[in-house]
Point group: C2
Chain length 170, copies 2
Amino acid sequence: MDLILGIDPGSRATGFGLVAVDGTRFRCLGAGVLRTRAGWDLAERLHRIHEGLVEVIRRHRPTAAAVENVFQARNPRSALLLGHVRGVAILAAVREGIPVFEYTPTQVKQAVVGYGRAEKGQVQHMVRLLLNLERRPPQDAADALGVAVCHANFAAGPLARAAQQAGRAP
Amino acid sequence: MDLILGIDPGSRATGFGLVAVDGTRFRCLGAGVLRTRAGWDLAERLHRIHEGLVEVIRRHRPTAAAVENVFQARNPRSALLLGHVRGVAILAAVREGIPVFEYTPTQVKQAVVGYGRAEKGQVQHMVRLLLNLERRPPQDAADALGVAVCHANFAAGPLARAAQQAGRAP
C-alpha cells in the first residue's frame, strides 16, 4: 500500500493531506492546514511550516510526497515568497527520506477532474467524492489532497499500471 | 565579540562567509561556496545547501546570520527558484537558533562601499580590503562576506553604537 502526502504550500496557510492507495481504492488518512500568524516574520513562518510538515511525516511515514509545481505567479515578489515556502516544504520530505514529486496545476486537474482546465472548485468537489469525505475539507487541505490523488494516479494507481502494461512510462 | 554568518543564496552556488566583529575590527574566520551539480534535481540541491549551512553553523556557532534580500528578479520563474534556496538557507539559521537579518543590495553596497549604487565589483574589492584578505575569495563567498560586513555595520558595529549613543535605533 502506498501512502502519499500531498502538500499545497502557502506562506499564510500550507495544506497537507494523506491519501492511502490500495489497488484502485483511495482513502484519506488525514488532512489539515498549517497556519502562520500575520505578525510573524518570514523566518518564523518558514520554521513553523517546516516543523509542522516534519511532524506530519514522522507521525504517518508516507511513502511519497507530492507538491504542486507553480510556473506562473502574479509577480516576481509573490513568486519569491512562495518559493521560500515550497523550499522548506520540499526539504521536510527530503530530510525524512521521502521522495518528492512535483505536478503542474494542469496535471492535478487532469488527474482529479479529467480536464486540465477545470475550475479550482471542481477539483475540491471531485476530491471529496473520490475520497468519500463526509465534510468538505478546508480549501488548502483539499488542494493538498488533490495533488496526492494526482500522484496516486500518475505513479501508484491504475493509470500508471495501464501505462506500464502498455510499455510506456507513466 | 559578535560572529556574523553572511549568506548569498543561489541554486547553483550558495556563498557563505564568517566575519568576527571586535569593536571596530573585522576579521574573516572563513568563507566558501556550497555548489550543487547540474544534474541534481531541486530536492537534492535544497538538501545539500541546507545541510551545508547547518554544518557551517554548528562548526562556528555564529551569533547572527545575514542574508541578502532580493526584491527584484528577472522573472517570476527565477524568483521562485531563488526563493526555494533562500527558504532553506534561512531555515538552517532558525533551526540552529540563530537570529536572521535581511538586507537589500542597496544597504549592502551602502555599508561596504558607502554608495548604494556601487558596482558589484566594488563590493568585492572593499570586502577584500576591509577584511584584509590576502587572496580574492570566490565571487559568491565575497558577496556573502559583504552581507556579513553590512550586518556588522548596521547592528553590531560602530554605526550601531553611534546610533545608540545618539538615541536612535540603527
